[in-house]
Symmetry: C2
């Protein structure tokens, strides 16, 4: 690892501290060096707060440090537009910074390169593409959302060695180890939302919150075309119910959906296609609400729908050391996995966790 | 790692060179040190050849080295009995070696500690139990066989993420990657035998030899109660057929089994229990033939029989990144995996390989 990579890695580390708090903004970290020494660090702490560059520059100024001639590292191209805060490129120029080292360009094609151009015009030396792969990985939610206007979708399953996610009676809770469940809760705190189908709500009545680790609760999304079952489930009644989003159709029980609305639950009505909710439409609507990342936590029918429509970006599969024999298959249909490669795998309790991604 | 562990690790390394060649003897390596310097190394090269201690001592003597006052490392307690070669403990005593450092005691309770006792009586300082766990792991085939009189059994499956080993038509060859198949061939070269059921012979007509890597072919064992199918399969006809062992029952087609015998195939007739061949009896007969380790390579019914009878010591499961949907389950019945822990796991191509063992 050379010097540039070393400080870019530190930017990634700092950026990660904002995980789960900045969406739909990107995760950004920033390090400023002068004469080879780190004089300031910053990161984007939460949506609406200072960008990482502004955070680092402001801190340095507060300490009375003159930034003239210094080098700034940042994992994402500095912004060139007014958003919640004024543009960072101008701030960098004003501060007298001489070199800017960037991890990756802005993925959004209308903005990409603009920040770099402005900096260069002002006489700043710019170098981009340091640990680019790692930077893209860090901001894969943001990249997907910025480029396609769709949320990044991860399917998470906890399955037995023979690919079962539940027994035929649906009363086989906790297939995976406590260690694995902690990892899932940590994932929830970093994704904007968790999505389940109506069968899962019916059989498991899950909370879908973050309890086994610290972190903020995600939005809970329920896919339920008909709204036939009870609306006494936790997702519709607990203290978190205002963070529940119901995706339903015109076929749904009007009375029930009205009741849910009154409870503060967001109800999105989508079209149907082949007897199923049009998931792509649903994802676009969720994206418009600012949701840039979703974990699909089940059940089997919901997994299949997402896979069939090619809406999955990533799989995280917890494989427990048990064999159920008969049970509900995670993916009851053949599936083309060719684009997905193993990108990470590890042991969690006695479970093997495998992470498949396209990139 | 301290000095003792360092040289014991070297013994294990040397011992491993005999893998697949010494069975049913143990894998043994030996290092001799004098004044802190390695003066000789040896290992058990093949069944009937010198034991590791004799190999190392003989080499040293040939070089004219006086072994007086030297230290001998060996991963298994030196033998105290006449087998194919005279006992090693006496040879060690004669040679003037002062210290003997041992990985593990002989696992066979009637012999265990005898070698150590003789050495101590002769005034040699003995220390045992260095890297004992690693030494037991290395010789797990030998330990099982010596202690129980039964072969060590490993189930190997190549399955999809949803636990399928074949499609319903049985024409889905090569579920796992070429890298994984190479690993399986390397495994075959280190186990005494590969076992399959009659369905696998019928549908796959496998060779069960070592082709994708260097190494000797294992014995091939076919479980076939009735011998209903054709005997034109590779296991019964190719140039390796004399290394095929058929396990069958009294219900088998007499003519066919006689033909197979005439071709040089070993035919073992076992009793039946609940409509199935008595596998325990079969394993005991195989053990008596000197077979101390078996890979069970399928199919599903054979896996289930071994699992139900609790005859499995280890699982090596290759999980490919594909989903079959409908197909033949590796283990079509519930299975208690509690005693099995993940002991190793790695990536092989785009497959995840998981190794479950009891110890």
């Amino acid at each position: 690892m050379n010097t540039h990579e070393k400080y870019m890695m530190r930017c990634i580390e700092l950026a990660s501290l904002g995980a789960g708090k900045v969406s739909p903004n990107p995760l950004v970290g920033c390090v400023i060096l002068k004469k080879g020494k780190v004089i300031s660090e910053g990161y984007h702490k939460k949506y609406g707060a200072y960008h990482a560059e502004r955070d680092a520059i402001t801190k340095a100024k507060r300490k009375g440090i003159d930034l003239k001639g210094s080098t700034l590292y940042v994992n994402l191209e500095p912004c060139s537009h007014f958003g919640k805060t004024p543009p960072c490129d101008e701030l960098i120029i004003e501060s007298g910074i001489k070199d800017v080292i960037i991890g990756m360009k802005d993925p959004f094609h209308l903005v990409s390169g603009k920040g770099i151009k402005t900096l260069k015009k002002a006489g700043i030396k710019v170098k981009a593409g340091i640990l680019e792969k790692e930077c893209r990985r860090l901001n894969r939610f943001f990249c997907k959302h910025a480029v396609t206007g769709m949320p990044y979708v991860t399917i998470k399953t906890a399955q037995t060695l023979d690919g079962k996610i539940a027994n035929l009676k649906y009363d086989s809770k906790w297939i995976s180890s406590i260690e694995s469940r902690k990892i899932v809760h940590a994932m929830r705190s970093r994704y904007d939302a968790v999505l389940v189908g109506s069968n899962t709500v019916k059989h498991d009545d899950p909370e879908l919150t973050v309890r086994l680790t610290k972190g903020r609760d995600p939005y809970r999304i329920v896919l339920d075309k008909m709204l036939e079952g009870t609306i006494k489930r936790k997702t519709y009644t607990d203290r978190n119910k205002k963070r529940t989003i119901l995706i339903t159709s015109k076929l749904a029980d009007k009375k029930k959906s009205e009741t849910l609305r009154r409870r503060g639950i967001t109800v999105l009505t989508c079209g149907t296609k082949g007897g199923k909710i049009n998931i792509k439409e649903a994802l676009m609507k969720l994206s418009a609400l600012g949701i840039s990342s979703i974990i699909v936590e089940g059940g089997a029918q919901t997994y299949i729908e997402f896979i069939k429509k090619r809406l999955v970006d990533e799989f995280v599969i917890f494989i427990a050391a048990t064999v159920m024999g008969k049970g509900i298959d995670a993916f009851g249909e053949p599936m083309d996995f060719k684009e997905f490669k193993v990108r990470n795998y590890f042991l969690s309790g006695n479970d093997i966790v495998v992470n498949y991604r396209k990139n």
